[in-house]
Subunit: 376 residues, 2 copies
């Protein structure tokens, strides 16, 4: 009886002292959400924040689950899409929570993907200077990335996620079944972040993914394991550096190039979604590391081969439409929030699972590299 | 040489672990601000947030001080008044800080009273998920209250300060000279909060104030001492309970009644300003405590006598214009954010300097008391 029963979720603890919380990962958690929340937070009321797409599929079941657990709840349904991460919708959520007369110990629940989670966590962090927050991530990306670590935020005209705060959830419920309703392209994009954890510091996990990625895509125990291992990996890094003053930057592997590419297509999701940018960015980070003699070209090829095998793009040439030139891409990189005092900070690697933070990377090297890899 | 030189500010440390910071209180600190900031935060850039009134009197000197200390700065000047604590102006400040391309370790400076401080601290807390924040409070109320403890926030249609976060400043510079430019009514209102610290848990300080309040009003060493003692008092309470889950509620002495009265006049500052509401509220809190046999009626009379002596209002009858009836006032109290689970929480007292948190105060007692004290 050592193994959990098949319907028992895997529990990952995010060890943040008095802000520690559990992530439960497994099947059927939307239906069991009310019971899981009520047992940890007795006597609370809730506001559910979701978007139109998720509401159509999951809101009824989720609301019923809260109701049957005796949690009174109101729901706010927002437009789907990145544009919802705005001051306008932040204000809408804040108003809804206040209008529901929720108190500080009541809970705001994010039922949705990264957009809903980031916006809702921000609102929960500022209503009454910080309410309880529960995440029910419904996309793979949200389950393995944005639901761990407490980063919340919105976008402004100056850039993405430049406004927000750190607000840790009290509980995360990652229902692996809901991922079956995702389009394949979105699942793949989330998978890029799973692969990232292997590439940062878990070479065995990356090897396991190379052998088992098909099972992760098809669901069941392998999917749960991959998500749990990803959450565990991120949780460990976050526990070392909750407020991103050091090691947490490792999580940006592939993201500096990736964000520049997302900026280059003006965040047009028909051309490039975040996880695809990260996939290309991780390949570029490994190739760039090889160019700087930090890792073997074989490692770079290995990363490229795996991401290509799962169907992710791995080069700038695969992005439909014309890209700005290398100088412009460098300007996007320099604009990125991970720039400190004008020096370029990159996550480089000594090989699969051996990433590190490189500060003061010369812009000239980046520019030459971008020119060599530019499809135009 | 034990006493500090006359031009040396008094330093009060707010002991919050890795969020600890200094409050400097004294003469000429606006002119020395650049040097004080630069010595603690070398190499930073700054955004100064202020309002039209303060800008007219102090912005030039303050900007010159930063410039001479080698701190590049941009300034944002907002309309004066409580209405500035809005989502709209929060967004304006956030935009200005982002447009100035400030980074996370740069500083946002609040040069102004409580409105500017609360709004600016909120903006500093959410730009890049938390930038450095320096407060230069220019009102007495801000020097002794809102600049200590890290509470920030804005108002919404549902109420005041219901949205915000805890974001501790890195430094507070309380220039006692700037208070000479305040209208007497505003100085008096700030004084109510000074008296509050004596009434919470510093009976000797309250006695000292009874004997020396005229010197506090006229300036010099007594003023500096009163402000420093107030900051020290608040700092001690905040250090015990940074996130207001317990003892920090003591700081609400006089505020539950006071906020209800402010609501009752729709926050019309021509009828009642915050400190006046607190003064009346503190008298009511002592009278209510006496009615509940918690403190002697003599203590209530003593509090009333002192606040009356300094020129503060001490009864509802002194508020110009008609007030809503007692039932309506109770409704305002029940709406106050310090209500938890529908029970009424009050700060009551066993006497001067012996305040305590009373939970589950029966609404019927409050209602009877309000009826007895209602002027209508």
């Amino acid at each position: 009886m050592d193994a959990p029963a098949p319907d028992q979720p895997v529990r990952v603890e995010v060890g943040l002292g008095d802000r520690a919380y559990d992530i439960l990962i497994g099947s059927g958690l939307v239906a069991r959400a009310g019971a899981e929340i009520a047992s940890r937070m007795p006597g609370i009321r809730a506001a559910i924040v979701t978007d139109e797409n998720v509401a159509a599929t999951h809101l009824e079941a989720f609301s019923a689950s809260l109701e049957s657990a005796g949690i009174p709840a109101t729901a706010v349904t927002l437009p789907a899409g990145e544009r919802t991460k705005s001051f306008e919708h932040l204000q809408q959520v804040v108003d809804a929570v206040l209008d529901a007369r929720l108190e500080r110990r009541d809970v705001v629940v994010a039922l949705g993907g990264g957009v809903v989670g980031d916006l809702t966590g921000f609102a929960a962090g500022i209503v009454r200077r910080g309410m309880r927050f529960v995440q029910v991530p419904t996309s793979l990306l949200a389950q393995v990335d944005s639901s761990v670590g407490g980063k919340t935020g919105i976008n402004t005209s100056q850039g993405k996620n430049l406004v927000g705060l750190f607000h840790q959830p009290g509980l995360v419920l990652a229902d692996t079944d809901v991922l079956d309703t995702l389009p394949l392209r979105e699942f793949r994009a989330g998978y890029a972040e799973i692969a990232k954890y292997g590439l940062i510091d878990r070479p065995d996990f990356f090897s396991w993914l190379e052998a088992n990625w098909r099972d992760v895509f098809s669901g069941g125990a392998a999917r749960t394991r991959a998500i749990a291992e990803s959450c565990r990996s991120k949780a460990e890094i976050v526990a070392r550096d909750e407020f991103e003053t050091g090691d947490r930057a490792l999580l940006n592997l592939g993201h500096t190039f990736g964000h520049a590419l997302e900026s280059a297509v003006a965040y047009d999701g028909t051309r490039l979604v975040h996880g695809e940018g990260v996939a290309i960015g991780m390949v570029l980070a490994h190739r760039f590391s090889a160019r700087l003699n930090q890792c073997s070209p074989d490692d770079a090829r290995r990363v490229e081969a795996h991401l290509k095998a799962v169907g992710l793009p791995t080069s700038m040439a695969e992005i439909p439409g014309a890209l700005p030139d290398a100088d412009r891409l460098l300007a996007y990189i320099a604009q990125d929030k991970k720039v400190s005092r004008g020096a370029l900070t990159f996550i480089l690697t000594h090989g699969v699972g051996q990433s590190y933070i490189a500060r003061d990377v010369p812009a000239s090297e980046v520019l030459s590299f971008l020119r060599e890899n530019h499809p135009g």
